[in-house]
């Protein structure tokens, strides 16, 4: 099936009423939770997972993907108006976005971030369409050693790209892998660390862990610290950026789109790191870098384009290899598996409706978001005035519903609460949750691939170094470790990345 044929087929799929509705619900909910600080796409997608049981696989994936890129649009609104990132990938937008709002230019700031997001989102969809099919044919040659090499690269990236202590991130990744071994051994089906508990025999659930680490712990931190959010009190008028604004923003949007997309493909990157690199890049390229931090529109346009393009890029490993490069994609992988669909090289052949339908729905969804966002900004502002004392009980109830409805087991709520406390302590002592969750999700794949690779080679680890693709991944992982030491500028750039990751 060639590209054009694929795309028209996908558009036909995504425009079916059910799928169109799923797309709308996804981007709307995504924007909503993007606007609300303290609840991000990871927790929301896990929460809505059980609701998709009754939907078709295509509609489910369309909705889940919509939540992710919808959240990227919504997050900027809160950053600009309240100076609190609505979700973690909009941290950088606070710097110049809020300054613009203080100077009475909230309208153009919101406008350029919506339009920059739209341009970048569309760009990344074209990128997926062009890159995914050829990558699929490479992925078909993957065996256990290649998979393990890729996982090694992923773990290395996610731990080395954290701003905090690398060693703590390594510890958290190992802890995640260890927690992933609870339950039945994937090869021999022997129980491990279950101690006779039925709940543990199934393994710890992904949803309770994510809701605990990203949902409950965030709420606990907020009520413990007593956050007061203050919406910037000004009438927002004139959302359309001026010609001058466009002239300044065109370059940053274009660079942010390419940068975000390419970085998004790499394992362990997510949507946050590209925003920091884009901001640093625009500041370096600017003729008057001193304007940055005082309301430079370039500092909003570039990073907002970058985080949207990255969401598209990160879909590529999932659709072509079946590999989740970050936590959000891990949840999406879960959504695929729940519907009995294995994403990977065979997806495009076995389920062309899902493959092309989801890609085409992202065009549709990006258009919806642009139409939805500009007129609805007033509504989001109202939403931000809801006091946290009313909001947090609702968030907690939603977390409970999400966890219970997935398994109908109250002990999973207890698991969630335990991970909520763990997450709070981790935040308090500077341990990051992202490496833990990613390692937990990929742990089973890692164990199966290394054990199979050892069986294949009769116990020689050198099998990782005798096959070209596997060797390339291991070499890339080594470069990630060595590069920051060898090149101080790279190290400085990475140090600007904040403590929270894909929340």
């Amino acid at each position: 099936m060639d590209l054009l044929h694929g795309l028209t087929y996908g558009l036909a799929v995504s425009l079916q009423p059910g799928n169109l509705a799923a797309c709308f619900v996804g981007v709307f909910v995504g924007t909503l939770i993007g606007v609300l600080p303290g609840i991000g796409p990871v927790a929301t997608m896990s929460l809505l997972l059980p609701i998709t049981f009754t939907m078709s696989p295509t509609a489910s994936i369309i909705m889940m993907a919509g939540i992710y890129y919808g959240a990227m649009y919504g997050g900027s609104t809160t950053s600009i108006l309240v100076n609190i990132p609505g979700e973690a990938a909009s941290v950088v937008t606070c710097i110049d976005g809020y300054q613009m709002a203080r100077q009475g230019r909230a309208g153009p700031a919101l406008g350029i971030s919506a339009m920059g997001s739209f341009i970048a989102g569309t760009f990344s969809v074209v990128g997926i369409m062009l890159l995914a099919p050829p990558l699929t044919s490479i992925a078909l040659r993957f065996g256990p050693p290649e998979i393990f090499g890729l996982l090694l690269l992923g773990f290395t990236m996610v731990t080395y790209l954290t701003a905090g202590s690398k060693l703590k991130a390594v510890a958290m990744a190992l802890l995640g892998l260890l927690l992933g071994t609870v339950g039945l051994d994937p090869i021999s089906a022997r129980p491990r660390f279950t101690y006779g508990s039925v709940t543990l025999a199934d393994g710890l659930g992904l949803v309770p862990i994510i809701m605990g680490l990203f949902g409950v712990s965030e709420v606990l931190l907020n009520i413990g610290a007593g956050v007061e959010q203050e919406v910037f009190e000004t009438r927002i008028r004139g959302l359309l950026p001026s010609r001058e604004d466009w002239k300044r923003s065109a370059g940053p949007i274009a660079r942010g789109s390419v940068l975000g997309f390419l970085l998004g493909i790499l394992p362990g990157i997510g949507a946050i790191i590209p925003t920091f690199i884009s901001y640093a890049l625009e500041k370096r390229l600017a003729r008057q870098p001193e304007r940055f931090g005082k309301g430079a529109i370039e500092g909003v346009a570039g990073p907002e384009a970058a985080n949207n393009a990255a969401t598209g890029g990160s879909m590529i490993p999932l659709l072509t290899i079946g590999f989740a490069p970050n936590v959000v994609m891990a949840v999406l992988l879960g959504a695929f598996l729940i519907h009995g669909v294995q994403p990977g090289p065979l997806l495009i052949k076995e389920h062309p409706d899902i493959f092309w339908g989801v890609i085409a729905s992202m065009y549709v969804g990006n258009a919806m978001l642009l139409v939805l966002n500009l007129p609805l900004i007033g509504l989001w502002v109202q939403l931000l005035r809801v006091p946290y004392g009313i909001l947090f009980p609702l968030i907690l109830i939603f977390c409970v519903i999400g966890v219970y409805s997935e398994s109908s087991n109250v002990w999973d709520i207890v698991v969630m609460l335990a991970f909520g406390v763990l997450g709070l302590l981790m935040k308090r002592f500077g341990f990051e949750a992202a490496p833990l969750v990613l390692a937990f999700v990929l742990g089973r794949m890692a164990e199966e691939s290394i054990r199979q690779a050892l069986l294949m080679s009769g116990g020689r680890l050198s099998i990782l170094l005798t096959r070209p693709l596997a060797t390339a991944f291991v070499a890339a992982a080594l470069i990630v470790v060595v590069l920051p030491v060898a090149l101080p500028p790279v190290k400085r750039l990475l140090r600007t990345v904040p403590v929270e990751d894909v929340a």
Binding site: G164, R190, G389, Y404, L424, G459
Partner: protein, 149 residues
Amino acid sequence: MTGRDRLPTAVLLAFGLVALEEARKLRFGSIARPGPGFFPVVLAAAFSLVCLVLLVGAVRGRDEDAPVAARLGWAKIVATMAALFVYALVLEVVGFVAATFALLLFFFRALERQRWPLALAGSLVTALLTYLVFKVWLHVQLPAGPGGG
């Protein structure tokens, strides 16, 4: 700030050693034919080693970089967690609507000091509304409790 990392890394190290001891009870197999215990043993050993390095660093007074150090109101956090724990235990006994109503009332009235009428009405409406939306409209599994509601 010195020594802030000591306690958490010590706890993690202890956890790693217990996990290692437990993992050793599983069949390890050999490198050529790894058994169920192979991966957990390797992981628990590596985890304990990393924690040991972190602990040694912390004891020497060299904390890894500083994270969120805001002062936290622990009383409110503990109250919230305790309420949620009790909620999880009684959820299947009394049903979703009753348990959720009680939990919300506790949050709104005891923690947030809303006035009684407001707290009561808010809790009732929210509990019923979430039940209608999730159970009746979206067909999500929720515990029924006595009398099916």
